[in-house]
Each structure stands twice: as C-alpha cells, then as structure tokens.
C-alpha cells in the first residue's frame, strides 16, 4: 500500500470514529465556528471607532483575517498528531510503537487523527471572506483564485511547520510546549492585520525568522492588486508563500534530527 492510500485509510477510520457521535461532532464544529468568529467583533469595533488605518479599511483587513483563518484550519486539521505528540506519544512511550512499524513516523502522526471540528474555523473564515468580497466589490479572476489557493497552501505549510517544531521540542521537554501557542494561535492573531501595523523589529521577525508575513501579508497584497507600502518589490509578492514550504522543509530537518536523538521514556 502506498503512502497516499494509507493516509486515505487513516482518514476514513478517523472520520468513521467521529461519526459514531454525529451530534457531538456537529456541536464541536459549531462551537469552533462561534469561538473563532468572535474575534472579528473586536476588529470591527476598532474600525468603527477609529476608521481606516494606514490606508487599510475593514474590508481589506477581513481579507487577511479570512485567508489566515482558512490556512490555519487546514494545518490544524492535518497535524493533530504533532500537536499532541509530547503528551500522547513521548511521555507515554507510545512513540516507540510508531518507530517499530515499517512506515515513516511523520506519516503515522499525520494519520493519527483528523478533527472534524476544525472545519468550524474554516466555515467561519469562508463566510468572512465572502463578506469581505462583497464589501470591497472584489472580482475573483482565475488568477486571483489561483493566487489565493497558493497562499493558503503556503499558509498550511507554515502552520504545519510550527506544529512539527512543537513536536520536535517535545523530544527534549517531554511535555507539549504551551509556549508554541504564542506562535500558532498568536500567529493567527498577528496575521489578521497588515504588518505595517507593527513595529519594525516585529516586522523583521515575521518576515525573516518566523515567515508569517510571507504567507499572509505579501500574497494578500498581490491578490488585492496593491503594491507594498513598505517597499517590497511587486514581483516578490506572489512568490512569497514559497517561504512557507521552505520553513516546513527546515522543520522536517529538525524533526529528523530529533528522531535520531530520541530516547524512550516508556517502560
């Protein structure tokens, strides 16, 4: 069985198990939808009181908000195994079993679980995207759609890399590190605004160290057909999401190093 059909099996098993309790899966999805939608209220309140900021109106910020939300929901859906890696695999010693199987550990972790409830955030972000489209009178040309899909792909790779790095740290800390939440959930929050809102040191951090801006700010500028007021060249904007894949590749390098240093805690 090749890797893809194996993942398909994992996926099917995960869906079937959650569908044993359809009402629960539905309610958790709705709860995710509601709890992630609430943030837009505070952003709206700020625009309502202060008006447009640095040339950005509410409709455009909704665009940032929606795309980063969609990216994160997919990454969260695909990387649950890495998210719980410290507490469920390293601490318990269950990772030993994964290593014994004739498949890569990363593949098995991706297949560990797919939470249906993560689609709550996806639906919520999609609704906001539709509202933003209406507010701005934005026309979705085929080019814009392709660019949006490419942006989302880069964003999924970016957040996936963060979850993998969180798992890598668990090799040493044993527990899942809560501090990475600052980068994952905090990243979603920070990515909701154009980076021109932020101080220079924070912008530098978001471009070069944890390349969040490359999967939200730059490509969204390209989708909206604007040039960067901070001076990034126009040709760079649509290429920026590639940084998400580069980040993911680096994360997997770190992962391999972590696996090679792994010593079991199990008994």
């Amino acid at each position: 069985m090749n890797a893809l059909s194996l993942l398909g099996r994992y996926f099917g098993a995960s869906m079937r198990s959650q569908m044993q309790y359809p009402a629960s899966a539905m309610m958790l999805t709705l709860a995710q939808l509601a709890s992630t939608a609430i943030e837009i209220v505070s952003i709206w309140a700020l625009f309502d009181r202060f008006g447009a900021v640095k040339g950005w109106a509410f409709g455009e910020v909704m665009f940032f908000y929606a795309l980063i939300g969609i990216s994160f929901s997919f990454a969260d859906f695909l990387t649950r195994g890495f998210d719980v890696f410290g507490s469920d695999f390293v601490r318990t010693g269950a990772f030993d079993r994964l290593l014994l199987r004739p498949r890569s550990a990363a593949l098995q972790l991706v297949g560990h679980d797919f939470r249906i409830s993560r689609f709550g955030r996806f639906f919520q972000a999609s609704i906001i995207l539709a509202i933003a489209t209406g507010t701005l009178g934005f026309v979705w040309t085929p080019q814009a759609i392709l660019l949006a899909l490419w942006t989302i792909a880069g964003g999924v790779a970016f957040f996936g890399a963060l979850f993998v790095l969180q798992a890598v740290m668990a090799f040493w800390t044993v527990e899942s590190l809560e501090a990475v939440n600052a980068l994952t959930y905090g990243g979603v929050y920070a990515g909701q605004f154009p980076i021109s809102f932020y101080a220079r040191w924070f912008r530098t951090f978001l471009i070069f160290i944890v390349p969040l801006a490359c999967v939200s700010y730059f490509p969204v500028l390209a989708i909206l057909g604007r040039s960067d007021p901070l001076g990034a060249p126009d040709w760079f904007l649509p290429l920026a999401p590639a940084a998400g894949f580069l980040f993911l590749a680096l994360a997997f390098l770190a992962w391999r190093f972590g696996v090679s240093k792994y010593t079991s805690t199990g008994s």
Partner: protein
C-alpha cells in the same frame, strides 16, 4: 476558627500544588508577552492613525496599553473553564468522596478554585510587572509600558476591586463546575465559555472601546467585574462615585452567583449519579 480549618487547608494545598508548575508559568508568560505586544501594537496603530477619534476615545492610548498588560498579567483570574479537579472527579467518580466529607461542598470547591486561581496568578503577574512595568521603561520603551496606578487612592480601590474580581471569578467558576457536574462533561461548557469570556471581560479589547451605544450594557454585565472594572479603577478612568458603582456591581454579581450556585449545587448533588468504580 476550627470550623474554617478544612477550607484553609484546601486552599493551601491547592495553592502549593499549583506553584510547582514553574515551566507552565514560564510558558504562559511567554505567550502572554507575545499577545500583549501584538495587542499594544495594533491599538497604537489605530490610535496614532486617527488623532481625532483618539482624542474623543473614552480611554487614552497609554491607558489602553496599561489595560492590555493588566489583562495579560491577570489572565489567570478569567473564568475560562471549570476547575479541572471537579471535572476529573465527575469522570472518575471520586466526586462521591466530596459528598462524604463533613464539610460544605460549595465552600470547599470555592476555596479550592480560589487557591488554583491565585497560585497561577502570582508568578504570572510578577513576571509581567517585571517585563512590562520595569524592563520596558529601562530599555527606553516607556511609552509602551505598564504604568503605575494613577494615584494612591486608585491603587487602594484597585486592590479592593481586584480582590472582588477574584471572588466574582470564583463564583462564576463554581457555576461552571455545577454545570459540569449536572451534564457530566466539561468539554461543552468550556468551549462555550471561551468566546464569552474573551469578549465580555474586556480581555480582547477594552470594553470602553466598543461602540458607545452598548457601553452601558457592557458595564452592567457580570463579566466586566472580573477585569474591566478593576482595570479602569487602576488608571483612574473610574473615580469617585463611578468607582464605587463598579465595586457595588462586583459585590452584587458575586453575591447573586454564590446564592444561585449554592442553591443549584444542592439540587444537583441530591440527585447525583456517580460514574466510575
């Protein structure tokens, strides 16, 4: 005094237990610094981008910045979810021991929640003062710092109001605990509480910055008493009669929730079905 001993012991044991989790406190602190910094920068972008609206705003930028650091430092006081010990007790059935103890179950759980809350609060708030109140001004970023209280009377009123905020938050946690016991599941209510708490306490955005038409309603609702009211007393936005009105509201909600909680817990406990073996 003897009558109080079991409750004091319950508070102390929980407090000392939670103080062991130093790594968790550090991790939480890092997350709070990140969120605090992003919130401050976003607020600054809005305030500085619209000088007229900023002048008309009910709180100034420097007050909003102080509010943000207070909100991050006092994160442990927010009634996000029920006491995990109660949830575990419901799941494993060990809740039946609490029924057998010759003490008042409501009071016991209440002081345990208070111990749990204050133990997570103390290290986090101390680190936050160190970082946002002392380190930031030292590196020349004083305008983004956590400012001291506006006056001595504001500081004293804040101390009173923050104590009441903890009392109120514990009363809300107790209501969540009771829902957990009644529904035998902590997950649903905990997920439901997240968005309510993040908006209505003022954690996501100071309540004063919401549109003027809803501000009175936001002031009167119970969650304002856990963060927004003490914060506004701290930087002198609520003074004199308004400060006392805020404190009065905190007392009102706390008493109401405790009375309600006691009554409800009695009913739930009298027909409790114990799980586990």
């Amino acid at each position: 005094m003897d009558a109080l001993r079991p409750y004091i012991a319950a508070f102390n044991s929980r407090f000392l237990l939670m103080m062991q989790y130093r790594a968790a406190a550090l991790a939480g602190f890092f997350t709070q610094c990140w969120f605090g910094a992003v919130h401050v920068m976003v607020l600054a972008a809005f305030y500085l981008g619209a000088p007229e609206a900023a002048a008309a705003s009910p709180i100034t930028l420097s007050q909003a910045v102080t509010y943000t650091w207070l909100a991050q430092g006092l994160l442990a006081v927010m009634p996000w979810n029920g006491d995990p010990e109660v949830a575990a007790g419901v799941r494993t059935g060990s809740i039946s021991y609490d029924r057998l103890r010759p003490v008042d179950a409501y009071a016991l759980w209440y002081v345990r929640a208070a111990g749990w809350m204050t133990a997570r609060l103390v290290p986090r708030v101390a680190l936050m003062i160190l970082a946002a109140g002392i380190a930031l001004p030292l590196i020349g970023q004083g305008q983004w710092a956590w400012q001291p209280p506006s006056s001595l009377s504001a500081a004293l009123l804040f101390a009173l109001s923050e104590t009441l905020a903890i009392a109120l938050a514990c009363a809300i946690v107790m209501l969540i605990n009771i829902i957990v016991v009644a529904t035998l599941n902590a997950r649903g209510i905990n997920i439901l509480m997240q968005p309510i708490v993040i908006i209505f306490t003022g954690n996501l955005l100071p309540l004063a910055l919401y549109p003027d038409v809803v501000r009175v309603a936001l002031f009167l609702q119970p969650f304002a008493g856990t963060l927004d009211i003490p914060n506004r007393i701290y930087f002198g936005n609520l003074t004199g009669q308004m400060a006392w009105a805020g404190i009065g509201l905190q007392i009102f909600w706390t008493v109401l929730f405790i009375v309600l909680g006691r009554f409800w817990l009695g009913r739930v406990m009298s027909r409790l079905e114990v799980q586990g073996g």
